[in-house]
């Protein structure tokens, strides 16, 4: 373990020599060298801080509430006078920048919570399928194949169109639709791990399947699963924004980055900047999540580098 295994496609062939100091310590050592990942983490951190502090910024910096209208100041071009119109104002004179802050809160919350649902279901199902194999695995595989064969967005459209879900339901539904990726990964890993000596040892001393899965297999798959989840959160944020844009996700007056674009067609001629900013926010968030996911994966398991 002293030498990092040769990667399939190293950008620059590197030979790192360092004594093995544990998974997390080694990973941290690699991350600190990876400027892109550090930058992605900082961007993500700033975005989270901005949306968490939305109330403070709205009250003290921009002095405008997100639902506050000003019919005399519609379609204002970006300006510093007043500061609330830093990124312009929309068709009823609401501050674009303040609405972006609150929209971020919604989009990020949906992303992270739905990611959590994905993680919970995916890990549980994957462990069960991989550990018990046989009939159980067949059934789960069948279900996953089925779910993968229905275009995701169609499923969401029928769900959202027919049920008009609340944000809570939306989080749940998004989570339920994205989990197969995580489940497949965990299932594959469990297949391999259950044959290892330490699992056999645990079984010999009489550990229950639940204990073996939870105490012995789970800790071994968790690091990479969390990273998969980071990328899934990006996917979820993209899907949520598209749904909200279509008017089926987060519905106004609650702003989300997606539904701020619902009226985009009306902005085309009068205020194109209103179309630009929400998209840039979505893009930055998702990009940061992807890069962070990639970077963390390379750090935790350098053998996987370049395979994705």
């Amino acid at each position: 373990m002293a030498t990092v295994a040769a990667t399939r496609t190293p950008a620059v062939p590197v030979v790192e020599r360092r004594t093995y100091a544990g998974l997390w310590s080694d990973a941290w050592w690699r991350i600190r060298r990876d400027k892109v990942t550090i930058a992605a983490a900082i961007v993500l951190f700033v975005l989270i801080a901005l949306s968490l502090g939305a109330d403070l910024f709205a009250e003290h910096v921009f002095r405008m509430k997100f639902e506050q209208q000003d019919l005399l100041g519609t379609y204002a071009a970006p300006t510093t006078q007043p500061l609330a119109y830093l990124l312009g104002s929309d068709e009823i004179g609401r501050s674009q920048v303040v609405r972006l802050l609150y929209g971020g809160r919604v989009s990020l919350a949906v992303g992270f919570l739905a990611g959590l649902v994905t993680l919970t279901i995916g890990v549980t199902v994957g462990l069960i399928a991989g550990y018990f194999r046989g009939r159980v695995d067949d059934l789960i595989t069948w279900f996953i194949t089925t779910l993968n064969s229905i275009p995701t967005i169609y499923l969401l459209i029928i769900f959202a169109g027919l049920f008009s879900p609340s944000p809570q339901t939306l989080i749940f539904v998004l989570g339920i639709l994205i989990w197969p990726g995580v489940a497949n990964f965990v299932r594959g890993q469990t297949f391999a791990l259950r044959e290892r000596e330490f699992v056999t040892a645990a079984r010999t001393v009489g550990a229950t399947p639940a204990r073996i899965m939870g105490k012995h297999i789970l800790p071994n798959v968790m690091p990479l699963v969390i990273i998969l989840a980071a990328i899934d959160i990006g996917v979820i944020i993209l899907i949520e924004s598209a749904l909200s844009y279509l008017g089926l996700g987060i519905t106004p007056p609650t702003p989300s980055w997606g539904n701020m674009l619902t009226n985009a067609a009306a902005y085309f001629v009068r205020a194109w900047w209103l179309v630009v900013s929400p998209g840039v926010m979505i893009f930055l968030t998702v990009l940061a999540l992807y890069l962070l996911g990639d970077g963390l994966r390379d750090a935790l398991d350098p053998r996987l580098k370049g395979t994705h």
Binding site: R8, T9, I158, F283
Partner: protein
């Protein structure tokens, strides 16, 4: 052939999910017939219920429904009375297929050379640019990219139309006009594929270049161009077929949003409008038909894979 049999349980699963969603969705289908008129007698409601088969137990209702959809009968549309739901969806398929095929060709024609170019110039600026674009294209929301393209090319520069398949009033075989209309939507739809293909192609080309037979080819004095095109690219293309599955899923799924942004009269846009209008038969027809298309394209991929790579046996 056994592959075909594997598809059957998947199709059964899809039909169960579609049926359950439609069944569980709120709103009494009876209301769509009575319009909630309080003067409708309970006996009449019972009669409608019976004529629709809603008084039977759920599994029987499901079997009834499946036996009808197998014959292509999804019932008639609620919004367009008298028109069959399946017929309405099928009528929108040519438009969707056009868009998907053009997008697929675009992803291949742009993505593959980019990947090869990046691999051959590993570590140089071309490689960096391609990799950055690959990541950026994956993170950009497609519908937003569509909106931005409309603002730039349709509103500001006025060089491309922002919606529809053709200019109304023009000859419908005016190819130049059609090309102009399909350019933006197909590019937006292809963006994910371009990103994916350039990434995979880069990895695969690098992998192949390191193989012994490439060294042999070089050693026997073949021109570098021949080595790359005949030996390297051809072999690097094999794994691309596997990626085709995900790409097709993306094309079918992503088409719904792209079609909506560009008012492209395809299956996705129509299904979406039907979902908004709660036109259940059309929605179910739309979902079932696109899912079947997806399963079929997965099958096609597996067959192609076996065809291209003799090491794989279809079993």
């Amino acid at each position: 052939m056994r592959r075909l049999l594997y598809a059957i349980p998947t199709l059964i699963g899809i039909s169960i999910i579609t049926f359950l969603i439609a069944h569980l969705s709120p709103g009494d289908p009876i209301r769509l017939y009575t319009f909630g008129d309080p003067n409708v007698r309970p006996a009449d409601i019972e009669r409608i219920r019976e004529s629709l088969g809603l008084n039977k137990p759920l599994p029987i209702q499901y079997l009834d429904w499946v036996s009808r959809i197998v014959r292509g009968d999804f019932g008639s549309s609620i919004i367009y009375p008298g028109q069959s739901a399946a017929g309405l969806i099928v009528a929108r398929m040519p438009a969707s297929l056009q868009l998907a095929v053009v997008a697929l060709v675009m992803s291949l024609v742009i993505g593959v050379p980019l990947g090869v170019l990046a691999a051959l110039n590993r570590g140089k600026w071309i490689d960096q640019v391609v990799r950055v674009f690959g990541t950026v294209f994956q993170a950009v929301p497609a519908f937003w990219l569509g909106l931005i393209l409309i603002i730039v090319f349709a509103v500001q520069l006025r060089v491309l139309p922002s919606q529809g398949m053709l200019t109304i009033g023009k000859d419908q075989w005016d190819l130049a006009d059609r090309l102009k209309h399909i350019l933006m939507p197909s590019f937006v739809l292809a963006v994910g594929g371009i990103a994916l293909y350039s990434r995979i192609m880069r990895t695969e080309t690098l992998e192949v270049i390191g193989q012994d037979y490439i060294r042999t080819a070089r050693a026997k004095g073949l021109m570098e161009k021949t080595v790359i095109i005949v030996h390297a690219i051809r072999n690097a293309l094999i794994p691309m077929v596997t990626a085709l599955g995900g790409l097709l899923a993306g094309l079918i799924s992503g088409a719904l949003i792209t079609e909506q942004v560009f008012t492209w009269p395809g299956v996705g846009q129509f299904t979406f409008q039907a979902a908004i209008a709660k036109d259940y038969p059309v929605v179910m027809a739309g979902v079932m038909i696109s899912s079947v298309l997806l399963v079929a394209s997965y099958l096609l991929r597996d067959v192609m894979y076996a065809f291209i790579d003799p090491r794989v046996k279809v079993s």
